[in-house]
């Protein structure tokens, strides 16, 4: 975990050097006006993001639960030694899983940049914290949990920002995580992780 923070530090510095300005414009996916559904209006980007997230989840579920590679990944998570003995190359699974996670991260980064229509080298910190929060809230090692955690975090943030302002929004999200961890709610602490 420390090593990944160290690597991320490197990437952020590289990005800052390659893109010295604070903000960059990013081409929007769709130039047109927001779609209207009665009184509600919806940006095309948000729809694209929603469908991309659903597609990514479906793909990930299929990979994890319907392919040989997915069986290998789950075996390595539960019992790395037994998986090794059964002939699974643990380092290979690690590298491929890491690559898969990075691909999803890249897709998310593109969608976020496209919907904000700007991009900054400082994106990393923000998205890492959001991702960690959503994942922990939903429970480690559970695909529906991660999605639910992400949606719950989004709803919580939108509402607390509306009622209390942006600083309190982050405070509330962290406080919730801390309290849930301290209370050791069962869905969050069932899986051991290091």
């Amino acid at each position: 975990m420390v090593a990944s923070f160290a690597l991320w530090m490197q990437f952020e510095e590289l990005a800052s050097i390659a893109l010295p300005r604070h903000l960059y414009d990013f081409p929007p996916l769709h130039g047109g006006a927001p779609l209207a559904f009665g009184a509600l209006s919806l940006r095309v980007e948000s729809l694209v993001m929603l469908f991309a997230a659903i597609a990514a989840c479906a793909l990930l579920w299929w990979i994890l639960y319907r392919t040989r590679f997915g069986v290998a990944v789950r075996a390595v998570i539960d019992q790395p030694q037994a998986a090794q003995l059964a002939g699974i190359s643990v380092p290979r699974v690690f590298v491929l899983t890491f690559a898969l996670a990075s691909a999803i991260g890249g897709l998310a980064g593109f969608l976020i940049a496209a919907s904000h229509e700007q991009v900054t080298p400082m994106l990393g910190m923000w998205s890492t914290m959001k991702g960690l929060l959503a994942m922990m809230l939903g429970g480690l090692g559970s695909l529906p949990g991660a999605v639910l955690g992400g949606l719950a975090l989004g709803l919580l943030e939108a509402h607390s920002q509306w009622f209390f302002g942006p600083q309190a929004r982050d405070l509330i999200a962290y406080a919730l995580l801390f309290l849930l961890l301290a209370a050791r709610v069962p869905w969050m602490t069932t899986r051991s992780a290091s």
């Binding site: 975990m1 420390v2 090593a3 923070f5 160290a6 690597l7 991320w8 530090m9 490197q10 952020e12 510095e13 590289l14 050097i17 910190m125 914290m129 960690l132 922990m136 480690l140 600083q167 309190a168 982050d170 405070l171 962290y174 406080a175 995580l177 801390f178 961890l181 301290a182 209370a183 050791r184 969050m188 602490t189 051991s192 992780a193 290091s194």
Partner: protein, 295 residues
């Protein structure tokens, strides 16, 4: 010595306190991503006591250490039973909460017609005790290192004692330690309080060295750095974290060889070292080897 050298050396000393507090928790088997919060608690508490209420620095430092110890004790109470990633995330959440609270803290007094005190994201300026009492930068450097040597001497004493063996036992295998009659939770809470006090002491000294602090100073990168210092320096001896700090601030920033690329070099160094030596340069084996050779 010129001012720049004194500044770099003082920084090495200040950050060493934080690295030592991360190290103390690592020996007891807990990886905290939140030590920067207690550094911040110390900086804000100490700065407010000297700048707003005219306390002398030594007294303010003691009060800040007590507050840091209490803060980490309270955070530790519900979280120390968590393991690995969960503890890391809980401490990270606590530290980010502390940083946002610093940003929400508006508490000022009128002193000689000027507002003094923390002003949210505008920061907290005018922590001038050191300057007002005629302490030269070189003298301040001396004070910082004298305190650091005291802390190190305590560490080395403890590590040779029964308590040191207990700490490492708890860190190595908490269940085994518990079966030998060690009250693991009590030991860990004690460790948490001591680590909080150490970090707070570093924070007080940091605030009075810089005269200006703001919430951004205490963000997660500070905590990740302090962990990295302890991990690359080594978990075998209390001199390990110091080696880590010297390597980063002393050699990389001090020499200015890599300039803007410092983070890239340091990040790479950390990643490589963690693969090659997961418990740092001065790990337990290296320390034992050195002892046989030279003691």
């Amino acid at each position: 010595m010129d001012d720049y050298a004194i500044g770099v050396l003082t920084n090495v000393g200040l950050i060493s306190f934080l690295a030592l507090s991360a190290y103390l928790l690592l020996i007891a088997g807990e990886m905290s991503f939140g030590q920067q919060a207690f550094f911040g608690v110390g900086a804000y508490a100490g700065g407010m006591l000297t700048a707003m209420y005219g306390w002398p620095l030594p007294l303010a430092a003691l009060a800040a250490m007590a507050l840091g110890a209490l803060a980490q004790f309270l955070v530790g109470l519900p979280t120390l039973r968590l393991r690995g990633l969960y503890f890391a995330m809980a401490t990270l959440a606590a530290a980010e909460m502390a940083r946002i609270l610093f940003a929400l803290l508006h508490f000022q007094r009128q002193l000689e017609g000027e507002p003094v005190g923390p002003d949210g994201t505008q920061g907290f300026r005018g922590i001038r005790w050191v300057f007002e009492h005629g302490v030269e930068p070189a003298e301040y450097l001396g004070i910082v290192y004298a305190l650091l040597i005291v802390a190190l001497a305590l560490f080395l004493l403890v590590e040779r004692s029964r308590l040191g063996a207990t700490l490492r036992g708890v860190g190595e295998d908490a269940e085994l330690a518990a079966s030998l009659g060690v009250d693991v939770n009590r030991v860990k809470l004690g460790v948490a309080a001591a680590a909080g006090a150490l970090a707070a002491l570093g924070g007080v000294l940091y605030a009075h060295h810089n005269t200006y602090i703001e919430p951004r100073n205490f963000d997660i990168m500070l905590g990740v750095h302090s962990l990295a210092y302890a991990l690359i320096g080594g978990l075998g001896t209390a001199l390990g974290p110091l080696l880590g700090v010297v390597l980063d601030i002393g050699a990389l920033e001090g020499s200015r060889v890599f300039q803007g690329y410092r983070m890239i070099v340091f990040g790479g160094l950390v990643a490589l070292l963690l693969i090659w030596r997961p418990r740092g340069l001065l790990d337990e084996k290296a320390v034992q080897w050195l002892r046989r050779r030279f003691c």
